[in-house]
């Protein structure tokens, strides 16, 4: 997180706000609710308390405007800049402006969710600048997340509490049962990193973890961490498995009994489908890993210590499966949590370990850390 120079903050914890005008995109009651909820995001973790004014000048004046709206920082039409706000101070300080050329929504992932945009701008209004943490609310790029399940990430909590301290009404020993522990951002170089799934994608590689995935480029050793939902709002967090079908030129992503398909970075319509649509027996309720084996031309679906072999051409499961993984991949330890085939090797992950087998001979070469491809 970052604060403004001199840790600019309000000198009082009792702040006022006023909604000066409304967007026609939403009923006024929805705007009121989104603004109230966005302020509560910050009140819940600090001593800050907000009172609404219906006239006169409030600390935080909230308005919708388009193009040049009188503060010297014109908006730029649809997309691009969505809103901006000013650091705490008298006058325009603390005010938040929303670009009326955007389509603001309150319940779906379409358009820009007003609650999420407002919560971010109120972070500025209270003294936070932008964070480099892609999982933080104060990260500058918009990313959709389900407002009903929104929980202020730890990076933002640390930032705002560095200015105002914690909420005196909440005792740390008894955290708010309504809210789960604050989401954190995974560290690629954590030696104990356990990934959710890994796949190639037309020469790139994607490593999935919680709400995020790392994009690994062959020509760069700098993996790029980004939120899954910043690319695919409808793809779930915490996936079970992912693999690239070279034959179908698709990436399939699994979670529970559902499967999504990507063509490049585009979601394929008609998904999610069920696991059984991939040929797996109805008894299989989830898988833990998958890979496309270029040697056999089969797709291997892993369910912990067992695996199935699926023939995409014949669209049927091979007979004699499931088999024990360690019978075919001698030396494999533990359940398979992720799987990848890459440059002639088959990588089977189990927790924070990655077993490297020759794809052709299935001979175990090495046991590495699960973050091996993340350039640590």
């Amino acid at each position: 997180y970052t604060t403004f120079p001199g840790n600019t903050k309000w000198k009082t914890n009792k702040l006022t706000y006023r909604i000066v005008n409304y967007t026609p995109d939403l009923p006024q009651s929805e705007v009121d609710r989104a603004i109230e909820n966005a302020l509560q995001v910050w009140a819940r973790v600090t001593p800050l308390r907000f009172t609404r004014l219906y006239s006169g000048t409030a600390d935080i004046m909230i308005s919708f405007g388009r193009g040049d709206h009188g503060d010297g920082y014109p908006f730029d039409g649809p997309d691009g800049t969505l809103a901006h706000a000013f650091a705490p101070s008298v006058g325009i300080g603390g005010d938040a402006h929303f670009d009326e050329d955007e389509t603001f929504t309150s319940r779906s992932s379409s358009g820009y969710n007003l609650f999420l945009v407002a919560a971010h701008e109120f972070g500025h209004a209270l003294g936070l600048s932008h964070s480099t943490d892609p999982g933080a609310l104060m990260y500058p790029v918009y990313s959709y997340t389900d407002p009903e399940r929104f929980s202020l990430p730890l990076d933002d909590i640390r930032g705002i509490q560095s200015l105002y301290g914690p909420n005196p009404d909440v005792t740390p020993e008894k955290p708010d049962p309504e809210k789960p522990t604050p989401p954190t951002t995974p560290n690629a170089c954590d030696p104990n990193l356990v990934i959710d799934g890994i796949t190639t994608l037309r020469g790139e590689m994607m490593v999935f973890k919680n709400r995020f995935f790392w994009r690994v480029y062959p020509q760069s050793n700098q993996p790029e961490l980004t939120l899954i939902k910043s690319f695919w709002p409808d793809i779930p967090d915490n996936i079970d498995a992912a693999y690239e079908s070279i034959k179908a030129d698709r990436v399939f992503i699994f979670k529970g009994e559902k499967v999504w398909a990507l063509s490049g970075y585009d979601v394929v319509s008609g998904y999610p489908k069920t696991l059984s649509s991939m040929g797996l027996p109805a008894t299989v309720k989830r898988i833990t890993a998958a890979l496309y084996d270029e040697v056999s031309g089969k797709t291997l679906f892993f369910d912990n210590k067992y695996y199935y072999s699926y023939d995409e051409t014949k669209r049927q499961m091979d007979k004699g499966y499931p088999k024990l993984v360690e019978k075919s991949f001698v030396g494999m330890q533990g359940g398979v949590t992720a799987a990848l085939q890459y440059r002639g090797f088959t990588y089977l992950f189990s927790g924070s370990n990655m077993h490297e087998f020759s794809s052709r001979s299935k001979k175990l070469h090495r046991v590495l850390r699960s973050n091996y491809f993340l350039g640590c």
């Binding site: 901006h84 480099t132 500058p140 700098q222």
Partner: protein
């Protein structure tokens, strides 16, 4: 003779415009290119590096498709430099 790092040509002048506007808006790129082309290019490279550093991209100071992709994403209008 002057030796200065030259940015590779962008795919379109529109992309060039996107880059300049983005860096001026969010990374305080000064509009100095017309007065001293070499210094302007140098400043562009520095600002690009700052932006790539901020977003965890590969820091090259050279425009690439990943950097342009981030620049085109919808975002907040407050500059990324706290100052």
């Amino acid at each position: 003779a002057h030796c200065a790092p030259l940015l590779p040509p962008l795919s379109s002048t529109q992309d060039q415009k996107v880059v300049e506007t983005y860096l001026m808006k969010f990374y305080d790129l000064k509009n100095e290119t017309d007065s001293d082309p070499h210094r302007g290019v140098h400043q562009m490279t520095l600002k690009l590096k700052e932006m790539q550093q901020f977003f965890g991209l590969e820091v090259t100071g050279v425009m690439d498709s990943n950097t342009l992709e981030v620049m085109k994403k919808p975002r907040c209008g407050v500059p990324d430099l706290a100052e």
